[in-house]
């Protein structure tokens, strides 16, 4: 009995990755401490993110059709491996809770300030749970619809904001202390790019004959996604200028400025829908990773019974995390980039090194899955 019977196609993986990268980044725009050099920080962050992705995908190709949990078992042995896997599962659970919180805060803030936060979080979590129950194949298919929609929306928004953009807002280039710059770009790398570690739970379900392409495909997709993201960063930075520093949700604030002949104005409702789709997908991937991982550790025959209980835990922790929105913003920029270092780069790099030194996996071909 396999835990996950689905398979994802190349396009499924690509769009899922793009949506994942856009995810909450597009709403909160981390790395704003770089001020008008934010786009430089994004380019640096993206480069760092590509290095992360290179490590993850090298691992994925070395251990074909194995999830992060199985890879940990093979590299660190059953006991230490399980401990590391457990810490990853906790990280994924927390990540899901954080994504839920970001979107909950956003929707409550811009749509209905009077509605309790838990309502938004509960409904998004329920939506996520139903997607997770349907398996990775369905999640990937959702992204094939939502991904292009989000890309088209962001391009349209950028075009409509052209009259408001001032290139002088992002000049002069590079007058930023190196320390601030590194911090901003690492924040950028850790928020969407490092979080792609959750895809090590997904790569295992690539169509069998495509396994060899994972690295190339992932890196290309991340570059493509980064370009779209960068367009959005440019757009927001050029439109908002200094006021990007005082606004909670820069992209949203910028979109509200759209006004073309009094006809194309007040478009934020449309864009909110695109945001909703992106948030849903990002949330689903890490939720899926946590649930599947837990089922693998416990050697269950199905991960479905864990979906709802873990979902409730996620909802509760999501609310427990922060007492208010500002705490969320501060934590995301001051604590999270450091806190995520072991999960995003430390352990994966160590795993890869050990695998290379010990020449793992031992039998390269014909390695049947143990759970079968």
């Amino acid at each position: 009995m396999k835990l996950e019977g689905g398979q994802i196609s190349t396009s499924g993986l690509s769009f899922l990755l793009i949506c994942y990268i856009f995810g909450s980044t597009i709403i909160i725009i981390p790395g704003r401490e770089a001020e008008h050099n934010i786009w430089l920080a994004y380019i640096a962050g993206m480069t760092e993110g590509l290095i992360f992705a290179f490590i993850y995908t090298t691992l994925a190709q070395r251990f074909p059709q194995k999830t992060l949990i199985e890879i940990n078992d093979l590299i660190y042995g059953p006991i230490l491996g399980k401990l590391i896997s457990l810490s990853y599962i906790l990280y994924f659970l927390q990540l899901t809770a954080l994504i839920l919180r970001d979107f909950g805060d956003f929707f409550r803030g811009v749509l209905m300030p009077e509605t309790p936060l838990v309502v938004f979080i509960l409904f998004s979590a329920l939506l996520g749970a139903s997607a997770v129950r349907n398996g990775i194949e369905v999640i990937a298919r959702c992204s094939i619809i939502i991904g292009p929609l989000a890309i088209v929306t962001s391009i349209l928004v950028t075009l409509m904001l052209l009259p408001q953009m001032k290139i002088t807002n992002i000049l002069p280039i590079g007058d930023i202390p190196l320390k601030d710059f590194i911090k901003a770009s690492h924040t950028v790398a850790s928020v969407p790019f490092g979080e792609t570690i959750a895809f090590l739970m997904v790569f295992a379900f690539m169509e069998k004959e495509k396994v060899k392409n994972i690295r190339k495909l992932t890196l290309l997709t991340i570059i493509l996604g980064s370009i779209f993201l960068l367009i959005n960063i440019f757009q927001t930075a050029c439109t908002l200028g200094k006021t990007a520093q005082i606004t909670l949700y820069p992209t949203f604030t910028a979109i509200r400025l759209i006004n073309i002949g009094d006809v194309f104005t007040r478009l934020e409702a449309l864009v909110i829908f695109a945001f909703l789709g992106l948030g849903f997908l990002k949330l689903t991937v890490s939720y899926y990773g946590a649930t599947l991982g837990m089922a693998q550790i416990l050697k269950l025959r199905s991960y479905l019974p864990l979906v709802l209980p873990l979902g409730v835990i996620i909802v509760v922790t999501s609310i427990l995390h922060f007492e208010n929105t500002i705490e969320n913003i501060v934590w995301t920029s001051d604590i999270y980039p450091y806190y995520s270092i072991p999960f995003q780069i430390g352990i994966p790099l160590l795993s890869l090194l050990i695998a290379m030194v010990r020449k793992l996996p031992k039998q390269k071909t014909g390695s049947k899955q143990q759970q079968k």
Partner: protein, 75 residues
Amino acid sequence: MYIILLFLGFGGIVLFEAPGLIYQKYWRELIFFFLFLGLAFTLSLLAVIGIKLPSPAEITEKIVNFFLKPLSKLF
């Protein structure tokens, strides 16, 4: 009021998952399902009756600062 909703919600989850697991004789899965659900229920019950639980953010903040403080002195 909220407690009633909570009970209803968890009752719903049990009714949704448990019969299928019992029917398929997935005992191991059933045990872990109830284990996690129990944990989830405890957490949400504590939250609903207003007991302040520690925030994971604060815990991680303490851990990060523990490592970061000595590091920042180096630079």
